[in-house]
Amino acid sequence: MEVMDARGLLCPEPVLITKNEMEKLGQGAFQVIVDTSAARDNITRLAKSKKWEITVEPRGDEFVLTLKK
């Protein structure tokens, strides 16, 4: 499973990275690592609007987001 590293990026970049990956894959699964709650929330909203399943797992100061479709 591909892991996208969006740590240290301000919005909207983490969301753009996620959106590009969604469009590239069409369906499947990948992970995005982010380190701000803003990025976590924005990607969660994007996933819901694009009908991807998302699970959020906190890891230290970071969040591992797993997206599936």
Partner: protein, 352 residues
């Protein structure tokens, strides 16, 4: 859905507080204006000597402290930095020059529209245009690079700086400037303004309200979330102004505004473009800096520096319009932000 409700309520509360602050003494259509208030603080600190816009605005102090405490409480505080800080500083300077050509940040723009100031509608068209240019660069892969974790204490200095400003405000030492006339002399009681700022900071941190982000996310993702907050401010303030009799539709004689459409448009286009590349409006930069982001802190310093330059060099607009040096500065600003844009496009991959 629940989050959408929260951001609408946030927008409504901000609008009501903004109207109340004007009733209690703030300048017209300036219940809140992040750009104007940073400009006033720059003046209060003597960084510029425009005697009519010098005051240590407690709304800003409250906002930062509210957002900081909330981020600590919710464990969302992150000391981060290192994403092109000097570039952000320069961009902050020119964003402010754009805002001060228009006379307001996106928040004051909404408040001006809600009071019938049609010059602010021109500003809105400019702001949207600027964000669209920024989105074009973002889609091409524009990035200022990654921030990395800094020492945890690094982010404490931003709220501490605000605490120092609060001491200056309360003790009024002789080396801090307070306007005797003009907008800087008009202010709501300190305790109320501080409390309004605190509430604003808490809500803005929770909702991540951003007026640039509202337009940006709608354009890029068709996401309405931030736009709901934007619209809530506009609608509630509009209703409030109609009820209070402070709605005056027109272009001429609007409070702390000018009717030069071209420069209202271009000023906001420049500011919107710079803000979109910076990742948020002045409000969002303040909140992000309060959450520990040193790059946003540097951006706020850029905004403050831009305000100082704007008044020291005669670039800021007045009711008469934008001066020739101000117009030249806006044009230089476009050149600089375009340069930043082109120099920072890279292939966006992000695979670890």
């Amino acid at each position: 859905m629940q989050r959408n409700v929260l951001i609408v309520i946030t927008g409504a509360i901000i609008a009501v507080m903004a109207l109340a602050l004007v009733k209690l003494g703030n300048p017209q259509n300036m219940g809140f204006c992040i750009a104007c208030f940073l400009r006033d603080i720059a003046g209060g600190l003597g960084l510029h000597r425009a005697s009519v816009v010098q005051y240590i605005r407690p709304e800003i102090i409250g906002l930062v402290i509210g957002a900081f405490l909330t981020s600590v409480f919710t464990k969302e505080y992150r000391s981060l930095g290192g994403s092109s800080p000097f570039t952000r500083y320069i961009m902050g300077i020119f964003a402010m020059i754009g805002f001060l050509a228009f006379l307001g940040c996106p928040l004051r723009m909404l408040l001006r529209i809600s009071a019938g100031d049609l010059n602010a509608v021109v500003g809105l068209v400019g702001l949207v245009t600027g964000v669209l240019i920024g989105v074009f660069f973002l889609r091409q892969g524009f990035s200022l690079g990654k921030a990395v974790p800094q020492n945890r204490a690094g982010g404490y200095f931003f709220p501490l700086f605000m605490a120092a400003l609060l001491v200056f405000l309360l003790t009024r030492p002789p080396y801090i400037f307070f306007s005797a006339e003009g907008p800087g002399s008009m202010y709501a009681p300190v305790a109320i303004a501080l409390a309004a700022g605190l509430i604003f900071g808490i809500l803005a941190q929770r909702t991540r309200l951003c007026l640039i982000g509202g337009i940006r996310d709608f354009v890029i993702f068709g996401d309405f979330y931030l736009l709901y907050g934007f619209l809530a401010i506009l609608v509630v303030a509009l209703v409030g102004n109609l009820m209070l009799g402070s709605f005056h539709l027109g272009l001429q004689n609007q409070p702390i505004a000018h009717a030069d459409g071209l420069w209202n448009f271009l000023g906001m286009t420049l500011a919107g473009f710079a803000s979109a590349l910076l990742g948020g409006c002045p409000l969002r930069q303040l909140v992000s800096a309060s959450e520990g982001n040193a790059d946003s802190g540097v951006t706020v310093l850029g905004l403050v520096t831009g305000a100082a330059f704007a008044h020291n060099f005669g670039l800021a607009a007045s009711a008469k319009g934008v001066t020739s040096p101000g117009q030249i500065a806006v044009v230089i600003g476009f050149a600089v932000i375009l340069l930043v844009g082109f120099l920072n496009i890279k292939a966006r991959r992000g695979v670890s």
